[in-house]
């Protein structure tokens, strides 16, 4: 497959979709199984640590610029964890926002897990389009 053929959305879109839904799934589809597994367990570890420390999930809110940035950005970060986020919300494990430093670390770890998955998604996209091995 030439570089131009690889750059079509029909090639990379399913991979990016799977990479979002299952962290490391895009790498797995691209035959980078070890990297896929390491990414999966790394994102899972950060996400579980966030969940077990009773971190809360962001929901989008607007208002002043700072509120919009934090809540919308946090929501995107949470959503980027894919199936972990969806299962947590569907099964009711998302916690209300509580005061306390441990919960605060958890909230940040949940967002960090999503941001790590965004890096993995970009990497899978670059491999799928032939920009990287």
């Amino acid at each position: 497959m030439s570089q131009k053929d690889k750059a079509t959305p029909a090639v990379w879109l399913p991979i990016v979709g799977i990479a979002w839904l299952i962290p490391g799934g895009g790498h797995f589809m691209l035959q980078r199984r070890t990297r896929g597994l390491i990414l999966f367990f790394t994102v899972l570890t950060a996400f579980l640590a966030g969940l077990l420390t009773r971190g809360s999930m962001f929901s989008p809110q607007t208002g002043d610029l700072f509120t919009t940035l934090i809540y919308c950005g946090g929501f995107i970060g949470d959503l980027a964890s894919g199936i972990f986020y969806l299962f947590t919300v569907w099964m009711g494990y998302d916690q209300p926002d509580m005061p306390g430093h441990v919960h605060d670390y958890g909230t940040k770890l949940l967002v960090a897990a999503g941001l790590m998955n965004i890096l993995a998604i970009v990497d899978a996209y670059e491999i799928a389009t032939g920009k990287k091995q």
């Binding site: 990297r35 390491i38 990414l39 790394t42 994102v43 570890t45 950060a46 640590a49 969940l51 077990l52 420390t53 009773r54 494990y93 430093h101 441990v102 670390y105 958890g106 940040k108 770890l109 960090a112 897990a113 790590m116 890096l119 993995a120 970009v122 990497d123 990287k132 091995q133």
Partner: protein, 61 residues
């Protein structure tokens, strides 16, 4: 659901480990480079963590 308590140091080290692994995996091309870069990132995270910790300690004296 079980509850886990993490100190600031534990949470920071956990974040540093996870982040270093992902950064090493997605930025470098060979396994050797990936391991080296992940260790380098982890070292930088820890140095920053302790550096800022001591800075705040002396800043509050």
């Amino acid at each position: 659901m079980p509850k886990m308590n993490l100190t600031h140091l534990e949470a920071s080290i956990l974040f540093a480990v996870c982040c270093s692994i992902v950064l090493g995996l997605v930025t470098k091309r060979t396994d050797r480079e990936r391991i080296r870069y992940a260790l380098y990132c982890f070292g930088c995270f820890i140095a920053t963590l302790f550096g800022l910790g001591w800075l705040m300690y002396f800043g509050h004296r």
